[in-house]
Amino acid sequence: MERSEAELIAAVLKGDRASFEPLVVKYSPRVFATARRYARRESEIEDIVQEVWLKAFDKLASFRGEAPFEHWLMRMAVRTCYDFLRGHQRNRESSFSEISEPEEDWLDRFVADPGSAPEDADAAKLLVNRVLEKLSPEARLVIQLLEIEDRSVKEIAGLMGWSVPLVKVRAFRARAEMRKILARMTKDKYL
C-alpha cells in the first residue's frame, strides 16, 4: 500500500532514510523545472536540485505540516536558486555583441514594426534569456516571479522572507534595470 506524504515524512524523521526516496521521485520534476528557470547548464541545474534535496533532508524537522510539503520544498528551491544567482554573476558584464543572427533579425523586425515581431518566436525567447542573465540576482528573481510566473507581491514576500514593501521596491528597481539593459542593448546595436 502506498504511504501518504505525512507518513513518509514521519518515517524519515524517525530515522528511516529510505522513506525519503519516494518524496524525491515525486517532486524532482518540479524542482528541476524551477532550477531550469535560473540556470542554463545542466551540470549547474543538477547541483542546484541536489542541494535543494540535501537541504530538505537536513531541515525536514522544521516542516510543521501546516502548508503542503510541496510549498515548503518549492520555497527552499527558489531560495537555493537565488543563492546560486548570487554566486554566479560572471555573465552580467559581457556585451551584447554575441547576439545570434535570428535574435538580430527579430530585433530588426521589432525596430521596423513592433507589431511584426512575434512573441512566440524562438529568437525572442533566446533574447529574453540573454537579457535576464544580465540582471542582478534580486532583479532577476523578482522579474521571474512577478512578471513571468505571475505571482503576487505577497506571495513573493512569503517565498523569500522579504517584507511586502521591499518586494515592491525591488520590483520597481528590477523593471528599471531591465529597461536600462534593453536600452543598452539597442544602443550597442543601432548607434
Binding site: 525519503f20 526516496e21 521521485v25 528541476f32 523545472a33 541536489q50 529574453v128 512578471e147
Partner: protein, 101 residues
C-alpha cells in the same frame, strides 16, 4: 525605439517558455547515495571528535599530574619518591605472600 514595448514583448516571450521538468535517470538514487555517504561520514566524524576530546583530556590530566609531582616538595624524613611508593603498593600482595609462613 520603444523600450517599454520591447520589454513587454520579451516578458511575454518569457511567459510562453514552459520549463523542462525532465529528471536525469536514477537521480533519486544519487540523492539517496549522497545522504547515505553523509551519514557514514558524520558517524566517523563523531567518533574522531570524541577520540580527540578524550586525547586532549588525557594530555591535560598528565600535565597536571606531572606538575603536581614536580612541584610537591619531598619531605626530608621521607626520602622515598612517588615511584617507590607506587611500586610498594603494587607489589604489596607479593611481599605479603613472601613473608607468610
Amino acid at each position: 525605439m520603444n523600450v517599454a514595448e520591447l520589454q513587454r514583448k520579451l516578458t511575454a516571450a518569457a511567459r510562453q517558455q514552459t520549463p523542462d521538468d525532465r529528471v536525469p535517470y536514477a537521480f533519486e538514487k544519487r540523492i539517496m547515495a549522497h545522504l547515505a555517504e553523509r551519514a557514514a561520514v558524520s558517524g566517523r566524524v563523531l567518533w574522531a571528535r570524541g577520540l580527540w576530546r578524550a586525547a586532549v583530556s588525557c594530555v591535560a590530566l598528565a600535565i597536571v599530574c606531572g606538575a603536581v609531582s614536580f612541584f610537591t616538595p619531598v619531605a626530608k624524613d621521607n626520602p622515598k619518591d612517588l615511584s617507590q611508593d607506587f611500586e610498594n603498593t603494587l607489589l604489596a600482595s607479593v611481599d605479603q605472600a613472601d613473608t607468610a609462613p
